[in-house]
């Protein structure tokens, strides 16, 4: 045993660099595995854990508009499927209500909602994931989206002006809002004190026109709830828990990307660990041969290496365990800003992950040392060459090779022993592939490729929530059309001849196959149904024809050719489904109505943006100029072109981009680590060859070039492979995610420059740079070392 420990000590001392790099990889592997497993458990239970903790229940109904308060009372009292319900009063506001301390209008998503903490029916959490139980008068908690969008921090002051009421509120921090906190739900909720809420409600306009209720219901029969809500007016939102969960889809996508990244890093770590263990043992043939020659048994020799790796694994796992805690938090950080993610056994899972790494390393060591059996004492004499290999492995011939020695030797090495370089191709290729898939996704989210899933493509889009509220509070289609005409005149007078349109969302009771539903129906004002894009079928040609999404088809069972009855208030119309279309509005749960359908503003639940189409064919530059002019004309910052509108609607492009950069950084770290480890290993293995090349007159630069070319070639293979595979893989992996959001058939915005040049180029450049730096070590090998090489 003492002898073994002495050999071990000398081994650790003699191969400092190799052992240090291997150790570092054990630490990294532990970090990735422990945090990765923890993330798997957390993400898998993510939304349910969060919604349960907040007390969201099984079904949520939101009412707004005049007479919204009390609208649910009768249904809540009489409906038998309701086990329990919690009701909270809210006040609606408009985007322009909130200004920052410097008087600038704060950026809010959609309608704002004000609510007192005392009367809240769900639990809000602060940034530390602690429940917010009380709020001082004059203070406010708000979602992280709002804080980030307006660069606000704790302690900053915002001003709330609503119908003549003015409140100055100090920001106490972020409130994690389980119902409305996701990007896709989109409303900004301000949680204030009861005293401040009362100040709002004392105002007659607010009291009469801006009140509403949010109701959280516990029920086991979601379908029955859908039917029950069909007769209730003023409902702007009613959906089961599954929809609210779905609204976190983008957050969960990010979490899953982190999860996949963790799994990817785990694979890379283990591939590299296996390589280094196999490589170290292959390099030890002489020592193993000598040990065998002096009579040590296979078992004892294997034990020596297993003990070495066990010790390194234990030490590395302990450090990796501590590193995994902040690393895991970092990975989930972007998600946990909006959600309370966690599991009660986080620490234990990290410990188990670390133990798993130790076990796998020992197992690797056990299997890799199996080669000891094949090694004979003769290996020690013959320098590892047994002369028993007859298969010719040399691939290229120098005389036929069109380039110089360095490139020839590099390519010949790779082709002669591809297995040896597989580790690099797998690890670099896998990491690059993930980066490229995210690049494709981000580029798509940051383009106007998704515009047809939100409506028709127009030159500009304009939000004016205050106006939308007026339509919802006693408006009519005629009034809206008048308003649109006014806008047309106003723009025309400014030398911007344009047509305006808008899509409205109604909530109508619908019957199919004897089942009742309340479904959001979209109808354009000043647009025709033929202007939209359909994925299958024939465009509806009258009020008796409709188009539905695959999500509605799945929910109701209706297919093209089926008849759905829509209850338009006083008139019931049997509508034939003639087409399918895709939309990301309302997570795809939409029916598209013909412009002749007898819609009524009393069923309105929302409006999309005003769409401006200039009629004088302006250039792109002119459109941008007009955008700025319209911003000033309407004193409204929310004037967007199609791309900006898509970014606004998906609301996740920036986060996705930051994840993409994080992933790129992790990829580069992997590239650096793997390159150093492998290049250093190769140099150790090729010391005799490098020395002989120097002895016969090769310059240092020629040898470094050989090494750099070799890694460059392998890196090139990995990134080219990743780039080529990235496009089908993006469709394969990301399309189902868009599908969940309503976009079944997505046309990706593939930027060839980024996919085939920029990102692969960055990975390749880093590979070449790190190889070059590592290969400088070959300068320390002297030609005279040929005499000292074992």
């Amino acid at each position: 045993m003492q002898m073994l420990l002495r050999i071990l000590k000398n081994d650790l001392k003699r191969k400092k660099t190799m052992n240090a790099i291997l150790f570092l990889f054990i630490v990294l592997a532990t970090m990735f595995v422990a945090s990765g497993i923890n993330n798997v458990v957390t993400v898998m239970n993510g939304t349910d854990y969060y919604l349960d903790k907040a007390g969201v229940g099984d079904y949520v109904i939101i009412t707004m508009g005049d007479n919204a308060v009390g609208a649910l009372d009768e249904m809540l009292e009489t409906e038998e499927v309701i086990k329990e319900y919690r009701l909270e009063p809210v006040v609606y506001g408009a985007q322009g209500d909130i200004t920052t301390e410097d008087g600038k209008e704060a950026e809010c998503k959609n309608t704002t909602i004000y609510q007192s903490i005392e009367s809240s029916a769900i639990t809000f959490f602060d940034k530390e994931n602690e429940a917010i139980t009380s709020i001082e008068p004059g203070h406010v908690y708000v979602s992280s989206n709002f804080m980030d969008a307006n660069n606000l921090k704790e302690g900053d002051i915002i001003c709330l002006k609503h119908s003549g009421v003015e409140l100055k509120l100090i920001l106490d921090g972020i409130a994690k809002d389980a119902l409305l906190g996701s990007d896709l739900m989109g409303n900004t909720r301000f949680v204030i004190s009861d005293a401040d809420m009362q100040k709002l409600l004392e105002n007659e306009t607010i009291y009469n026109h801006y009140q509403g209720e949010i109701c959280y219901i516990d029920t086991e029969d979601v379908q029955a709830m859908k039917a029950a809500i069909a007769d209730v007016s003023n409902v702007s939102f009613d959906d089961p828990r599954s929809t609210i969960k779905m609204a976190y889809v983008m957050d969960m996508i990010l979490a899953f990307i982190m999860l996949i990244l963790s799994v990817c890093l785990i694979i890379v770590s283990f591939v590299v660990l296996k390589f280094s263990i196999t490589f170290t043992i292959a390099e030890e043939f002489r020592e193993i041969g000598v040990m065998k020659a002096i009579g040590l048994s296979n078992g004892k020799i294997r034990r020596l290496y297993i003990v070495k790796y066990l010790m390194m694994a234990i030490l590395g796992a302990v450090i990796g365990f501590f590193a995994s805690i902040p690393f895991g938090t970092l990975l989930l950080d972007s998600v946990s800003k909006k959600m309370v993610l966690g599991n009660d056994n986080a620490l234990m899972i990290n410990v188990l992950g670390s133990v798993l790494v130790v076990c796998v390393i020992v197992l690797f060591a056990y299997f890799c040392t199996g080669k000891v059996k094949k090694s004979s004492p003769v290996d020690a004499i013959r320098s590892g060459q047994t002369g028993e290999r007859y298969k010719n492995k040399t691939v290229l011939r120098i005389q036929k090779f069109p380039s110089g020695n360095a490139l020839f030797m590099a390519l010949n090495d790779v082709l002669s022993n591809p297995k040896r370089f597989l580790t690099i191709i797998i690890s670099f290729g896998l990491c690059t592939l993930f980066v490229l898939m995210l690049v494709n996704t981000t580029a798509t989210l940051k383009s106007d490729k998704l515009i047809h899933t939100f409506g028709t493509k127009s030159h500009l889009y304009m939000t004016d929530i205050a106006e939308v509220m007026t339509y919802m509070n006693g408006g009519s289609k005629e009034k809206l059309q008048e308003r649109l005409e006014e806008q047309v005149q106003k723009l025309g007078a400014e030398g911007m001849p344009a047509e305006l349109c808008i899509e409205l969302i109604y909530k109508y009771p619908v019957t199919f196959n004897g089942n009742d539903y309340v479904i959001s129906c979209q109808q354009g004002v000043n647009t025709e149904i033929t202007e939209y894009v359909y994925t299958e079928g024939v465009v509806p040609s009258g009020k008796q024809e409709i188009a539905i999404t695959p999500q509605i088809s799945e929910m109701t069972g209706a297919k093209i050719g089926d008849i759905i009855t829509i209850h338009y208030g006083e008139e019931d119309v049997d509508c034939m489904v003639t087409a399918y279309f895709q939309t990301m509005n309302q997570l795809g749960k939409i029916i598209r109505l013909h412009e002749d359908a007898p819609t009524d503003f009393s069923f309105i639940s929302g409006a999309m943006h005003y769409q401006i189409d200039f009629t004088d064919n302006p250039t792109e530059e002119e459109i941008e100029l007009r955008k700025e002019r319209i911003k000033k004309l309407y004193d409204n910052d929310k004037i967007m072109n199609a791309t900006e509108y898509c970014i606004e609607c998906t609301a996740v492009a920036d986060t996705m981009e930051s994840v993409q950069f994080l992933l790129l950084a992790i990829t580069l770290i992997v590239v650096i680590m793997v390159t150093i480890l492998m290049e250093r290993s190769f140099i150790a293995d090729e010391k005799s060859q490098i020395a002989i090349l120097k002895a016969i007159g090769f310059k240092d630069s020629a040898i470094i070039k050989w090494q750099v070319y070799r890694f460059g070639l392998v890196g090139l293979m990995a990134v080219v492979l990743a780039a080529v595979v990235s496009i089908p893989m993006t469709r394969l992996c990301i399309s189902p995610i868009f599908g969940m959001m309503g976009a079944v058939d997505v046309e990706y915005n593939i930027d060839p420059l980024q996919i085939f040049l920029l990102y692969p180029g960055v990975v390749l450049a880093m590979t070449v740079l790190v190889t070059w730096v590592t290969a400088l070590y070959t300068r320390t090998i002297k030609s005279s070392d040929t005499a000292n090489i074992e």
Binding site: Q385, R389, I398, G697
Partner: protein
Amino acid sequence: MAVLEVKDLCKTYVVNKRQNNVLKNVNFSVKEGEMVAIMGPSGSGKSTLLYAVSGMDGVTGGSVLFDGKDITKLKSKELAALRLDEMGFIFQQMYMMKNLTILDNIVLPAIESKKTAESKKEKTKRGEELMRKLDIIEVADNDINEVSGGQLQRACICRSMINKPKVLFADEPTGALNRTASNEVMNELVKLNQEGTTIMMVTHDAKVAAKCSRVLYIVDGNIKGEYNSPTGAAVQEKERERLLNNWLMELGW
């Protein structure tokens, strides 16, 4: 004319703060076309001397004039170019590039060299001619571990000769070979010498050294004696060996 002139050559290693003077003011010269053997007991500095005079290892003092040029003053790049174009090397261990065929290993230095304007094809042809000459052409396309030790060492000789060097340095060229293979290799070296190549080799083997025209005997970093082998066809090989052995015994071999 001396192709190699060594003056007051010193080489000192410092190991664990202890100074070890391996070569102490060594002086000798090698004329063009000579075949010189360096002999001496283990640790006497034979290999160090060979590596120092061939520019593979630095020196502590003195000078080494190769073709009139002091190689101790050259930069590493210039030394590499000199080794590539003007010197050939043969080692006891037959190191070659693992992933190349025997022929490609031989041609490699020729392709690296810009000494001649020959095409790759011409250089390859030259490599094949050398292999034919050394009777190993049948293993040209073999991998390095598919040939015998003798064949491999002859391939190393081909590689060392590919750029037509002025001097061939050999460190125990037959040390890892059996008697038959050793004879084959030495016969080839003698032939090359007879064709005009200057050879300087380190050997332990008196039988091998007996084939050289001159033997330098080194002890503790100093040349203790110099032996000029009798020349002429009249002197049989066995006789040359006997005479050399006698001389070596006088020096305490």
